[in-house]
Amino acid sequence: MKPRHKRALLIVAALAVISVAALLILNALNSNIALYVTPSEVAAGKAPNGQAFRIGGMVKDGSLKRDGLTVHFVITDMAKDIPVSYTGILPDLFKEGKGAVIQGRLNPNGEFVASEVLAKHDENYMPPEAKHALEQAQKNGSNK
């Protein structure tokens, strides 16, 4: 084989690896992305149907109720409230009146069933997604 052909073959092999990887990536991106949705958007029916997504917002004061290992609480952007249920152990920094990000799906009753409550690592830290939701709601409120 001539050196030129060898080089061409190596390049073809490398391109094959890259294109297989690209296929994997596109496929995985399609099925594994979670959209961030604000509570107002959920209330307006803009949440993806039957697909997992994330909500950012504040845990409403006085809304936390326990039922064995299952907890019920309300997540809010100060404009709209969304009821949430979660079974499992809550992260250390989960508190009423603090920001939180949760991932899960809506059930037919309009309750958000969380599969994951995201832990924050610093008490003074506000998740940007929760902040974003509050700002959006405030903006919409002042426009009315």
Binding site: L10, A21, N32, I33, L35, D92, D122, Y125, P128, E129
Partner: protein, 639 residues
């Protein structure tokens, strides 16, 4: 007064670093010896000044000087001494100072250990490092001065985030940064050789041990971080595909590719342009990692309170470094590859293929990390890319790489008979298939993922054993050869660990009162009591659990729920019974009323093999560096 000396030392260090960055490079270009010999003394001075600044910051923590803003924000008079010292790099400003101090440490090591190297080359390498140092010092001085004063001084500090109050803080950041920053040496060697136009095997031989050393530190740093997350975050995971973890893992993948590519350049003179490009990429990705972590664009455990100016500065710095080095590369990289010729079936080809897999996997992780940022920046909405993405992309790319790992070391340079190699490997293949089928069955359940995991791990192990046997027949194996074997064995051990944990761990969230028992992985765990326990700067609720197997008690576990005095943040401290073949992990959730507690228990088979594998990889790197051919040169230098 003392903190002002620290600030002053930083300013002086910046000025001298500018000299270190500019004069030797010009001197080397124009052949002016009197400028070029400034490189070493300048680097030594910068190192001393940075050491002074660093010591002063540590001193301010030691004496609780809360008139220094950074100390007031990250320490507290009740904080134990060890964590006060660790807190020096517990925040943004201090960790950057550590970054620069370590950069200067690498520079000084290069300056001291490269006396046999041509002085033009040394001057260029030190000059490039000087430019990087001065850029980062400018960043610290303009946006992140750790010596800023707080007037009037605070009565007491805000204390360190309780998550960071752990021995992990003392070791993880310096190790990780040693690795991150260490790639700057490979980068400097690459740039220096481009500048001189002398890209030869000698260059690769010089830069190889430095790259391996950086890689060893990075491996250990990532492993320490993973282990810390495992026991300290309280919820038992060892890798979360958190963007900041990815930021350290991407340079690791590219650095691994660089190590292998350097081997080809050293032994065969091939792949020169590719090696240089990898060296530039590895360091650029380290800088990108710093940008991602420090700019606050990411939501993660490492995101400190942030300032947008910092992100913009690092971004500009990154653009300058990447832009100028790629321009230089386009201009000076060898146009025609004049390396040794090799056939398609040769070690060169296999290493190149492995390189492609490593770089592509790094690219896929990078894409998953940056994709949400990109979508957000284009105002297309906010999304998150979670672990399932990384698992479903990364794992399939690693499978062929592990297959290659068993074959590559058998192939000869230049030209090899692949059929003969495969014939030699039938025994390894048999061992792998038997392990892949039988181990999942022994563990009680066969899944394809577990089967493939064990198959690959034992393929690598068996192939390695056969290689050692063959090598031992022809003579004493070199350290360099043993280094490769140990590092590859480390990968196999690591794969066994993740396969076991991924396939056979058991997790239970339960509600428990005193006297209740939960069973997991063939063990019974009984809650004895939960009682209050005092600590130096916190008070804890401490659970007492008995770990039993077949009715006999094996251990007592004490998980805690702590509340720190200086913060309202509770902390979960897990209790772990460590074993060679399994960990039992208990952590205490919240009190659920009527004296019952939420409790999470895990049975994690072979989980410690994950970090054991990383240790072996690092050990392999150390063995490779200690190879005779590097030491001979050192002896020559001394005489």
């Amino acid at each position: 007064m003392i903190p002002e000396f620290g600030h002053y030392a930083l300013i002086l260090a910046f000025c001298i670093a500018c000299i270190q960055g500019v004069l030797p490079l010009i001197g080397a270009h124009q052949g002016r010896r009197e400028w070029l010999i400034l490189a070493r003394p300048a680097a030594q001075t910068v190192f001393c000044l940075l050491a002074i600044a660093f010591a002063i910051l540590a001193w301010s923590f030691y004496i609780n000087d809360f008139s220094v803003l950074y100390v007031a924000e990250h320490s507290n008079s009740q904080l134990p001494l060890m964590y006060r010292i660790g807190a020096v790099w517990g925040g943004h400003e201090g960790s950057l100072l550590l970054w620069i101090f370590l950069l200067s440490t690498w520079t000084i090591l290069v300056a001291q250990l490269s006396k046999a190297l041509d002085e033009f080359m040394v001057a260029r390498v030190i000059g490039v490092l000087g430019l990087v140092t001065s850029g980062l010092l400018l960043f610290v001085l303009t946006t992140s001065n750790p010596f800023d004063r707080l007037l009037p001084a605070a009565q007491d500090g805000r204390s360190l985030n309780p998550l960071l109050q752990d021995p992990g803080l003392v070791f993880h950041p310096p190790m990780l940064y040693m690795g991150y920053v260490g790639f700057s040496v490979a980068f400097a060697f690459a740039i220096a050789s481009l500048l001189s136009g002398r890209l030869d095997a000698a260059w690769a031989r010089w830069s190889r041990p430095w790259t391996t050393a950086a890689w060893v530190f990075l491996t250990l740093g990532i492993a320490l971080g993973s282990w810390w997350a495992y026991y300290e975050l309280g919820w038992g995971g060892w890798w979360f595909w958190d963007p900041v973890e990815n930021a350290s893992f991407i340079p690791w993948l590219v650095g691994t590719a660089l190590l292998h590519s350097l081997a080809v350049t050293e032994k065969r003179g091939g792949f020169k342009s590719w090696t240089v490009l990898l060296a530039i990429t590895a360091f650029s990705l380290s800088l990108l990692g710093t940008f991602l972590v420090r700019s606050g664009v990411l939501t993660s455990v490492h995101a400190f309170a942030t300032d947008p100016r910092r992100g913009i500065f690092i971004l500009i710095f990154l653009v300058i470094v990447v832009g100028s080095s790629l321009t230089l590369y386009a201009w000076r990289a060898p146009k025609s590859a004049v390396g040794g010729k090799f056939s398609l079936s040769s070690r060169e080809t296999l290493i190149l293929l492995g390189n492609v897999f490593l770089v592509v996997s790094a690219g896929s992780v990078l894409l998953g990390t940056l994709y949400p940022l990109l979508i957000d920046a284009l105002h297309l909405g906010k999304i998150s890319v979670g672990p399932p993405y990384f698992n479903s992309v990364f794992v399939p790319i690693m499978i062929p790489l592990l297959v290659l790992m068993g074959v590559g070391p058998w192939a000869n340079w230049k030209n090899t008979d692949l059929i003969a190699v495969i014939k030699r490997l039938w025994l390894a293949g048999l061992v792998a298939v038997v392990a892949g089928i039988s181990i999942p069955l022994v563990m009680g359940q066969f899944t394809w993922l577990a089967g493939v995991g064990f198959l690959l791990a034992f393929w690598v192990i068996a192939s390695g054993c056969l290689q050692i046997v063959r090598q031992a027949k022809t003579g004493k194996p070199t350290r360099s050869f043993m280094g490769m074997q140990v590092a590859h064995l480390g990968i196999a051990v690591f794969v066994i660990g993740i396969t076991m944990v991924g396939g056979y761990q058991e997790e239970k969230d339960v509600r428990m009162s005193a006297g209740d028992t939960v069973s997991v992985g063939g063990y019974e765990i009984q809650l004895q009591s939960v009682a209050e326990a005092p600590g130096p700067n916190y008070k804890a609720m401490r659970g007492t659990f008995l770990l039993m197997k077949n009715g006999s008690t094996e251990a007592t576990l004490y998980p805690e729920k702590r509340s720190y005095f200086s913060s309202t943040m509770p902390m979960t401290e897990a209790a772990i019974d460590v074993g060679l073949t399994r960990d039992i992990y208990v952590s205490l959730g919240e009190e659920l009323g009527d004296k019952s507690w939420a409790v999470r228990v895990y049975y994690k088979p072979f989980v410690d093999w994950i970090w054991g594998g990383c240790l072996l990889m690092a050990l392999g790197g150390v063995l490779a560096i200690s190879d005779k051919r590097y030491r001979i040169k050192l002896k020559k230098q001394l005489s």
